[in-house]
Symmetry: C2
Subunit: 214 residues, 2 copies
């Protein structure tokens, strides 16, 4: 039985993976937790603990073998599991995600985007297909889609969510600023870009305020 990985650790693993791949490309063979921690602004013990959860390939004096560590993290994150996702909402944001290349780094394939505008003509963007939503059931069953991404307007998000759930999707990445009602077996991760930006803005205000006081 694999040890469970805390949400905090899970958020750091992709960052380790990315950095290790950069190192490998540069021709490095080994890396110490201290170096990784320094590069990513983390505590070195924390890095060691995170890596111990997924690897066990660390050796005193030499550190970790980069190649092994990469494949251990990939394995942990499910790289190669063949996860496939579809997007509902082929507006600006949906199309941006459809053609975004950063998902392949983690082994996830965005198969196609759909638009709830049923009159929409099927088309292609950068080699990826955009369909009217009528084709959703066929694509979901043929391509075994397990992840759905919602980029429609708030008012249409629940409908989009229902369609995804009906077609067997188990996890939803929701960019619409609404709380989705889904069955217990479905996982929802909300991504609110407005809220992310306002957090940054507030942190900036805090920083400026503190600087003035000091």
């Amino acid at each position: 039985m694999q040890k469970t990985i805390s949400p905090q650790t899970l958020r750091r693993l992709p960052a380790y993976l990315h950095y290790l791949r950069v190192l490998l490309k540069k021709g490095a063979v080994n890396i110490s937790a201290t170096m990784i921690a320094c590069e990513l602004n983390l505590n070195d013990v924390q890095v060691r603990k995170d890596l111990a959860l997924v690897s066990g390939s660390g050796r005193p004096k030499t550190g970790y073998e980069i190649k092994n560590l990469i494949s251990d993290i990939e394995h942990c994150l499910g790289y190669g599991n063949g996860d496939r996702a579809v997007i509902i909402g082929a507006g600006e944001l949906g199309c941006a995600l459809l053609t975004y290349e950063g998902f392949t780094e983690y082994g996830i394939d965005i198969v196609a985007a759909f638009d709830i505008d049923r009159s929409m003509k099927d088309t292609t963007m950068n080699g990826k297909q955009v369909f009217s939503v009528e084709k959703l059931p066929a694509v979901c069953s043929e391509r075994k889609i397990n992840i759905g991404i919602i980029t429609v307007e708030a008012k249409d998000a629940q409908k989009a969510s229902n369609m995804l759930v009906e077609n067997g999707v188990m996890a939803i990445w929701n960019f619409a600023p609404v709380h989705l009602a889904v069955p217990d077996h479905v996982l929802v991760q909300n991504e609110n870009l407005g809220s992310s930006l306002v957090i940054l803005s507030k942190q900036l205000a805090n920083k400026l305020g503190t600087d003035q006081n000091s």
Copy 2:
């Protein structure tokens, strides 16, 4: 002196604000922390503690007056401070953010997008301007830009970051999967969409695994 707000609380405030506005639109006047907690899947004491940090308008038996609470949270988050942002990288993602309407809800104005392709002709998208990067200094000083959003490729991100810093930007929202080197006084928030999606995918795998074991 205002009490400092923890990062965790800060992440929940925009969600409260959004829900309160929905309630106000529906004609509601008062709301209890218990109700908010229920709607957003949070603990009610946590909600009360969060709100106590920004408001103080809660009254036993009746709860909080929605109008007051909204303006207290808005004030805390800096709504009305007139934060202005620019985007560097007018590709798919940059343009999607440029025309995304969810930022105005939190009082942040995306002024324009720039592309590092210097030969690019100035243009307009949904009423927002897209410029060649040469115009960045002028826009930053004229419009007092304090936030920069980076949506260029990884290899160009450091250059984009330097330009923003040189032009007085104090906070950077970075969508490129690289660690940016910036002076101490500049705040960076990294947003890695690939990593967000792989986290969801892993959580799904965990969930399926656990269900099978039980």
